[in-house]
Structures are given as structure tokens and as C-alpha cells.
């Protein structure tokens, strides 16, 4: 059911062209933050307006869209954004990673490896990896253009000096093709290794901050670290209690007020597919005999 009062995927064609130009520039200069004239969207800033605009500019009527938030298709904001495009674009939607041609995500990269015919769109709250070291936009842009990234390592140095390890657990900064330092959006650092060398196009949209950036397929992406304190992707030291997977990123769920908890895959589609294949975890319901 489409809403005829609006253009396909809400934005008018002139705005989409403007966003596509920014996307092309972003693809051409991987990791560089391209300013774009972000539009007011009918959802609040900070709730995915950047991702929604990028998705709107990329969607075609033939696309199949998947929207996830925290890895899950059924979280409220994912539902809301999916409905928005069903209503304004009439596009097919899916919860299956493999079936989607375009995936909009907040805070996760799907567990299932992406393909060359897929686009992953990230929602980005703060695109500037140097922001909390230097609050001034005019200064951080200069630092990027002059490749002055020493300060970023000072932050990592301070982490190790204080905690014995780099205590950045998400939105872990990366260097793209040996040039730009980039914020991968608040994905857990567990997902960082999936950023590099991916066959899919990865697009990042920050609506409030009016920035777009991109990783073209097979881009080199290196998580910042020290030689003697190398980057390590980490996750909870458990298996999924529903599907038994030992390699997926897990959510911790509190099950009672006596300290009971369970760990389940944050990627709901991945977990369901494994269970459909017969995988079982510690707390899977007993098979009906």
C-alpha cells in the first residue's frame, strides 16, 4: 500500500540526486565525510534520518528491503522505518538477510556474509571519530585533510595506560585504505573485521550532522591499535542459548530477579535460520515427542 501523496520513497527526485552525488563522492574517496544538505524527515534526528535518506536515494521499486536495529528486525525503530518505506515506496520487505538487496542497519552488521549485489546502509549518530577529542568541526576537518591523527592514538594510549587495554567497545575507530580515520557507527567492535574486504557496498548516513561516507566493495579497513596491543574483536564468552552458535554476537537477557540470564544471538534472522536447520542451544524448548 503506497501513499500517493508522496514521491516514491518520500524524497523528491532533486533531493535524491543531491544525495546520490554525495554518495558517489563518498565512494570515490573511501572514508571521507561528504557534507550533504540533509533534509528534515518525518522521524526525529538521531533516529536514523541519515540512513533513511541514503536508503531513499538508493531504493528502486525492484528492491527488497531489510531493516534491523541492534541486529533485530522486530525492534520498534526497525519496524517503524520498514513501515515507512512500505508506505512511501511500496517496496518488498524481508527479514532474511540473503533475500535483501538493501539492508538498513543501526548498530550491527549481519552475521551472514554479504554479497556483491547487496547494499548495507548504516545509521550514524556522530560521524566524526575525532569529535570527543576536538569539539570544533573546522579543526577536525583540518585534521582529516592534513592526516593529523596522532591525537586518536593518544586516546588509545590513555586507555591502555589506565585500563591495561583499549577500552573502546563500540564505534571503534578504523583507518580506511591507509588514509582517512573513520567512525564505523556504534557497531560493537566485534563487527569491525566485517567492514573490510566486503563484496557489498557500505554506505553511512548521518542526518543531523549532514554527512555521508562510504566504503566501496573490497576496501581495506584497519581497526586502530598498537603493534603490542593489537585490536581484538570480542564478544560475550558464551554460546547462544537458543541456537547454540559459538561465533555470533550475543545479547544478554535478564530472565529473573535472582541473577538468571541467558545469551541469545543479537541477529534474530541468523538465529532463527539456525534453529530452522535444527541447531539447538542450552535453553531450547524440549522437542515434542
Amino acid at each position: 500500500m503506497t501513499d500517493q501523496a508522496y514521491n516514491f520513497a518520500y524524497l523528491d527526485e532533486a533531493t535524491k540526486r543531491m544525495i546520490r552525488r554525495a554518495l558517489l563522492k563518498g565512494i570515490a574517496v573511501p572514508g571521507y565525510q561528504v557534507p550533504f544538505a540533509s533534509r528534515e524527515m518525518p522521524m526525529p534526528y538521531g533516529w536514523g534520518t541519515g540512513g533513511v535518506q541514503v536508503t531513499a536515494a538508493c531504493l528502486t521499486p525492484e528492491d527488497t528491503l531489510k531493516v534491523i536495529d541492534q541486529g533485530a528486525d522486530d525492534t520498534t525503530n526497525a519496524v517503524s522505518i520498514r513501515k515507512f518505506f512500505e508506505r512511501t515506496g511500496g517496496v518488498k520487505t524481508t527479514t532474511h538477510t540473503a533475500e535483501a538487496s538493501l539492508i538498513q542497519t543501526r548498530h550491527r552488521i549481519p552475521e551472514e556474509p554479504l554479497r556483491a549485489d547487496q547494499i548495507l546502509v548504516y545509521q550514524v549518530p556522530i560521524p566524526e571519530p575525532l569529535r570527543f577529542l576536538e569539539p570544533r568541526e573546522s579543526e577536525t576537518r583540518k585534521m582529516h585533510s592534513l592526516e593529523e591523527y596522532g591525537l586518536m592514538h593518544v586516546k588509545l594510549y590513555e586507555d591502555i595506560a589506565r585500563h591495561g587495554e583499549i577500552s573502546t567497545a563500540y564505534a571503534y575507530p578504523v583507518k580506511v585504505e591507509g588514509r582517512y580515520v573513520m567512525d564505523p557507527s556504534p557497531i560493537p567492535k566485534f563487527d569491525n573485521p566485517k567492514l573490510g574486504g566486503s563484496p557489498a557496498i557500505q554506505l553511512f548516513g548521518a542526518g543531523r550532522e549532514q554527512r555521508i561516507y562510504a566504503l566501496p566493495p573490497f576496501t581495506q579497513v584497519v581497526s586502530l591499535d598498537f603493534e603490542d596491543h593489537p585490536f581484538m574483536a570480542s564478544k560475550a564468552d558464551h554460546d547462544c542459548d537458543l541456537c547454540g552458535c559459538s561465533t555470533s554476537y550475543l545479547d544478554e537477557v535478564i530472565t529473573d530477579d535472582r541473577g538468571g540470564r541467558m545469551f541469545v544471538c543479537s541477529d534474530t534472522d541468523f538465529c532463527e535460520a539456525r534453529r530452522a536447520q535444527g541447531h539447538r542451544g542450552r535453553l531450547s524448548p524440549e522437542e515434542a515427542v
Binding site: S145, L146, G150, H153, Y157, A161, R162
Partner: protein, 256 residues
Amino acid sequence: MKDLGNTALLQVAGLSKYYGTRIGCEAVSFDLWPGEVLGIVGESGSGKSTLLSCLAGHLTPDQGRVLYNGRDTVTMSEAERRVLGRTDWAFVHQNARDGLRMGVSAGGNVGERLMAVGARNYGAIRGSAIDWLGRVEIDADRIDDRPRQFSGGMQQRLQIARNLVTGPRLVFMDEPTGGLDVSVQARLLDLLRGLVRDMGLSVILVTHDLAVARLLADRLMVMQAGRVIEQGLTDQVLDDPQAPYTQLLVSSVLQV
């Protein structure tokens, strides 16, 4: 050991800077040789700080040339100038707070320049930081403390370590001992003199304190109202001043 090359490290010609119609500094020319310490003395308002800012690239002069190793630092791009600023050059501020990151540990402060030029081994960076803290007489166990917890003299020594860790060739110093107690000053001067000699640094030192100039500088330039009115070897200028203004300056210090 001084590297006595036969070309000047810094060649300054006809440097002028105006604030509206007021003269900041005017028609300043001099050469600085490798391993040489040049003192710039004069009262406050004489233009010595303006001159230093123009030389270090913090201010853009209105006229004149500044050649560093033959490259014009006035016309070079900001990118190149900033690279110089974190490799070959160093700047020691009068107020240590202007030259330190107060929210970053002492080790992080010293390590920043190393990381800025590509050091990526935590252990090695920390090793250099400990070494440098030692050289400026700060205990190694203070490495993870923030400069806020340091005394004024320690902050200044930390600033010096942070600047010298990458082995710069040219150091700009703006009243490095200003605002410190006399006893603290003496210790710092001693330290600076040793470092300058050991590392063969070229230094441009701005000070209003002739005692500091006498201890550190090989050569002196005396400034008044934005112009250089006398220059020469330090002992020569201080013991046998020619210009009346210099005579006044020297006599006032002798009274102290």
C-alpha cells in the same frame, strides 16, 4: 657537540607585521645557524613575541621571508607548516597549560608527538616517555598522572620533554622560565642548558630576563618598538652595550 654546517638553518629577511597602523615588528633580518641559541630581549610590547609568532608560523607576517632549510615557511601550505611543527620544530610556551594537554597523562603528553609521526608500539612509546621524564627530572612513577597534579616547574619540564621527544632541530621558546619561582627557574635553566648542548638544538629564545639570556643565548638581538636596535654575541651586548636603550636595559638588570 654542535653541528656547525656552513648554511644557516633559518634565514629571516625584512620581516614585518602590523596591527592596523601599529607596528608589531618591522624589517627584522637575521640568520640562525645550526646549534645556535639566539636570544631576543626587550621590554613587553617591544615586538619580540610578535616576531616569535611570525617565525613559528602562528601569525602571518605582512612582509618578508622566513627560509627554513631553504624553504619559505611564509608561503608554504598550512599542511607543510603543520608537519614542520610536529617534526623539525618545537614550541615551548611561557604558560605550560598552553603547551600541554591537561586532561592527558604525562606519558600521553610526551608520547603524542611520537604517535603523530607514526609510532605504533605502545611499549616503545612508553619507554621513550619514561626516558624523557627522567631526562627532565620527573619520577617515572608519575607517568600516568595528569599534569594538573604537577607543580608549575614540573609542568614546564613536562612541556619541554613533550617538545623534545622527537628530536626537533629548531625550538622556539617564549619566556620559558616566566612565572616560576627563582629557585625553580635556576633548576630549569640548568636543565635547558644541558639539553640544548647535548642535543645540538638551535633555539630562538624570547625573554625579558637578561640573566636568562646570558645563561642560555650565544647571540642576542635587542628589540625596541618593533625594531632590532642592536645585535651581537651575548657577552658583547651585555658587557659593552652600544645603543642607549640597551645600556638602560643592562643597567636596570645590574641593579637587581
